[in-house]
Subunit: 207 residues, 2 copies
């Protein structure tokens, strides 16, 4: 029996390094890990591949999916629809692939409601001083813009306690190692192994 | 604040490779990991060091510890007392050191009763055929001896579902990697990090 994949929710304030961690994790295109691919009704841009960057669908198809309760969550942005399909994620998990959802705390709460077994990982910067440095960028932004970014980051950070794991991204390689260890360990939980290794366990316990 | 260590209970049928995994994990004497050191009233053998191989105590001291409820579990074997001290383990965890208890399912149940936060890891051989091969040894034992070993192993295996994680030791390096990933991930749980990183989180959320 193929091991079912796990669904990981990854959240962080900007400046924590979440995108770099996810990119690095997937840079060699591992067969057993992928980010969730959203549905959208907007037109593909040059170079965008259906099923890889987005699932491109018509408005009629999208509305049928809404009616079918296929989405964890969906939204209309500037006349285009975007959504995360529970069905696609379920199919991917069923193929033994871990799926990574790069979403904020509000999205995380919605997903946890529907799939409580989803594993939440929160990435934090190591200190407020360091966060401010990372959000200040190249010094071209006004104090007000930076203050607004800090306020938004602080608001996201205030939800850290809702996550199963917390990674502090001080040293990138350490944080990446932490990330990989969490993902690997979740393939080894008793509940998961009992499901996956059912035949082997029966064999071991046979008279 | 120093991260509190975790208590790991490691159980397995003989032939699963548990001792090799624990030895390999600790072979470079890492500062943040150690096996639990038992108390005993028997005399030290040549080369045995107090506090490293055992805590050597007198019968009076041992009985005082029993009266003080200091042990998870203790037993008298051939006139000597042996016990696992909860106090020593607590002190070690408090120093930020992960402690490994190499015990069977009965010991595991006792420890889980007293410290439900202890993390149980069960090591399994990959198949019954392979287990039989490993338990047969050099072919010098009678069928009855081997059958009795197999029965004992099967009885231990029947408790796998009581553990938080299950490692299948087919390839040793993979199993060791699994073991290390579980240990590392348990330093990153939300509950643990909130405790350890309390000051940092306050700093990040300060106005």
């Amino acid at each position: 029996m193929t091991a079912r994949g796990n669904l990981f929710i990854v959240s962080a304030p900007s400046g924590a390094g979440k995108s770099s961690l996810i990119s690095d994790l997937l840079k060699d295109k591992p067969a057993d890990k992928q980010v969730s691919v959203s549905h959208t009704t907007r037109n593909p841009r040059p170079g965008e591949i259906n099923g890889q960057h987005y699932h491109f669908v018509t408005v009629e198809e999208f509305k049928a999916l809404i009616a079918d309760n296929a989405f964890f969550e969906w939204a209309e942005v500037f006349g285009n629809y975007y959504g995360t399909s529970r069905k696609v994620i379920e199919q991917t998990l069923h193929q033994g692939i871990d799926v990574f959802l790069d979403i904020d705390w509000q999205g995380a709460q919605q997903v946890k409601k529907v799939m409580p077994e989803a594993i939440g990982i929160f990435i934090l910067p190591p200190s407020k001083v360091e966060l401010e440095k990372r959000l200040t960028g190249r010094g071209q932004d006004s104090k007000e813009v930076i203050a607004s970014r800090m306020a938004q980051a602080t608001s996201e950070i205030s939800h850290y306690a809702e996550y199963d794991f917390i990674i502090i991204n001080d040293d990138f390689d350490t944080a990446l190692g932490d990330f990989i260890a969490i993902i690997r360990s979740q393939r080894l939980t008793g509940a998961g192994q009992i499901h996956t290794q059912n035949d082997m366990l029966k064999d071991l316990l046979a008279e």
